[in-house]
Amino acid sequence: MIQIENLHKRFGKNKVLTNLDLDIHGSGIFAVLGPNGSGKTTLIKCILGMVIPSSGDIEVQGKTIKKHWKYRQEINYLPQIANFPGNLRVKELIRMIKDLRQKQSKEEELIKLFGLEPFLDKKLSTLSGGTKQKVNIVLTFMFDSPLLILDEPTTGLDPGSLIKLKELILQEKNKGKTILITTHIMQFVEEMSDEIVYLLEGNIFFKGNVKQLMTRTNQTDFEHAIAAISTQTTDA
């Protein structure tokens, strides 16, 4: 599904990703973790083509993404901070994205699920952070694409909506899709993820499932395991 080889990215003198190799295939939920500034968002944006790699190659569905854009038709992306053009109405935004992607969509179902009906005619600048995030989720899940990339999907959600989001993600997984998630909520990772990709200083420090992580760190508790992996590095 996604194959990354020798990926380097520098912002000026600051090396964010160095010689990163990553192979993600098959369906399942892949959690991309790592401390702040480890390059999670940069990696995701590289896959999306928003950040241009300094060197290295990225393939999505067996095709290089360099100078291509049509592959994004197969990706649904949930950005980290839901910033939308303020003077658009929710309805208009949804219609616009549909118009741009020209794909089958199921937004009505999702709007109902998150109870967004009363907000449809509101301008995006007037919405609260949580509601914006719900709109964000609707926009991401309304299309049927084999790859989903979710950058901090839980931000600002109330517990009820969080449960609905989890259900949604699981549904998609059961349809055989590949789902990439970054988050800081460890409980969410433990509960949802099939595989963990741990980024540190611009490279992959660990890749495997929760059990493997615990064995490796000799911890019984997931959160401690994650903490331990960080300290391991500081020791190393």
């Binding site: 944006k45 928003m50 241009i52 854009w69 049509k70 994004r72 910033n83 053009p85």
Partner: protein, 260 residues
């Protein structure tokens, strides 16, 4: 690209500023015509306004729009769209809506005052064409500046500085070099200096069409020869097109290499 253009255009058409701009020109047109009721006189006054205001408004509006639509841009970048389409679409949306405001805002009062029955129609059309060119040029330049500067304040500052340079400082330097080197033949130098600044070029084009060419005297023979003929007009228009295309080209080039 057309879809992006459409959305940028709609977005702008409903923004307050397009209306302010449109109403400003509408008011200006009516006031000018009301005050002297003479189309050709009004064309001269309008020229002054267009030479100063159109580049300034194009610059500020362009920078403002670019920074304000950062979220919109990022939203689009994750969609299956070509980068060049996204930026070209936004650019054309801004430049197009500004040009539309200009043409409608000035066109309506002049048509109501009998433009089509007047001989000023060619001068007026030339005025609108140069106005459109200046809009496209300065929006493109400001997009370039905004694209290269993440810092809003800096970008804004550079944009205003660019306007100030082309609209005022350039002429000052030009004047000084003319006076400094007055013993030398300056015709070709002046011609080149005029061609290299879109504001000066537009001003000269309009002035010569308004038949002030005779003021140029013997020394201005080369200007008359150059700008007075169709060849000169074609070269001038080509220069304006070049001035439009170069920043657009850089915009596309830079946008393809930028990280978001």
């Amino acid at each position: 690209m057309l879809k992006i253009l459409k959305y940028s255009f709609y977005d702008l058409m409903r923004s307050r500023w397009s209306y302010v701009y449109f109403l400003f020109y509408l008011a200006l047109g009516f006031v000018l015509l009301f005050l002297n009721n003479d189309l050709s006189k009004a064309v001269i006054t309008l020229m002054n306004v267009i030479i100063v205001l159109v580049p300034l408004i194009g610059t500020i509006f362009g920078v403002m729009y670019f920074y304000n639509s950062k979220e919109f841009t990022e939203l689009l970048l994750a969609q299956p769209l070509k980068r060049s389409s996204i930026f070209l679409g936004q650019y054309l949306g801004v430049a197009g809506s500004l040009t539309l405001s200009l043409i409608l805002g000035l066109g309506i009062p002049f048509i109501l005052y009998g433009l089509f029955r007047s001989d000023a129609i060619w001068d007026f059309s030339l005025l609108l064409v140069t106005g459109a060119f200046l809009t496209f040029i300065f929006v493109a330049l400001s997009f370039n500046i905004a694209l290269s500067n993440e810092n809003k304040i800096k970008g804004f500052g550079y944009a205003v500085l660019l306007w100030l340079f082309l609209a005022v400082i350039y002429d000052g330097l030009f004047l000084m070099s003319l006076i400094l080197f007055e013993e030398y033949p300056l015709d070709s130098f002046s011609l080149a200096a005029i061609l290299l600044n879109p504001i000066d070029l537009s001003r000269t084009l309009i002035l010569l069409k308004l038949d002030i060419s005779a003021l140029l005297g013997y020394t201005g023979a080369i200007f008359k020869q150059f700008f007075g003929t169709n060849k000169g007009l074609v070269v001038s228009i080509l220069m304006l097109i070049l001035w439009t295309i170069l920043p657009i080209w850089r915009l596309v080039y830079k946008s393809k290499r930028k990280d978001f």
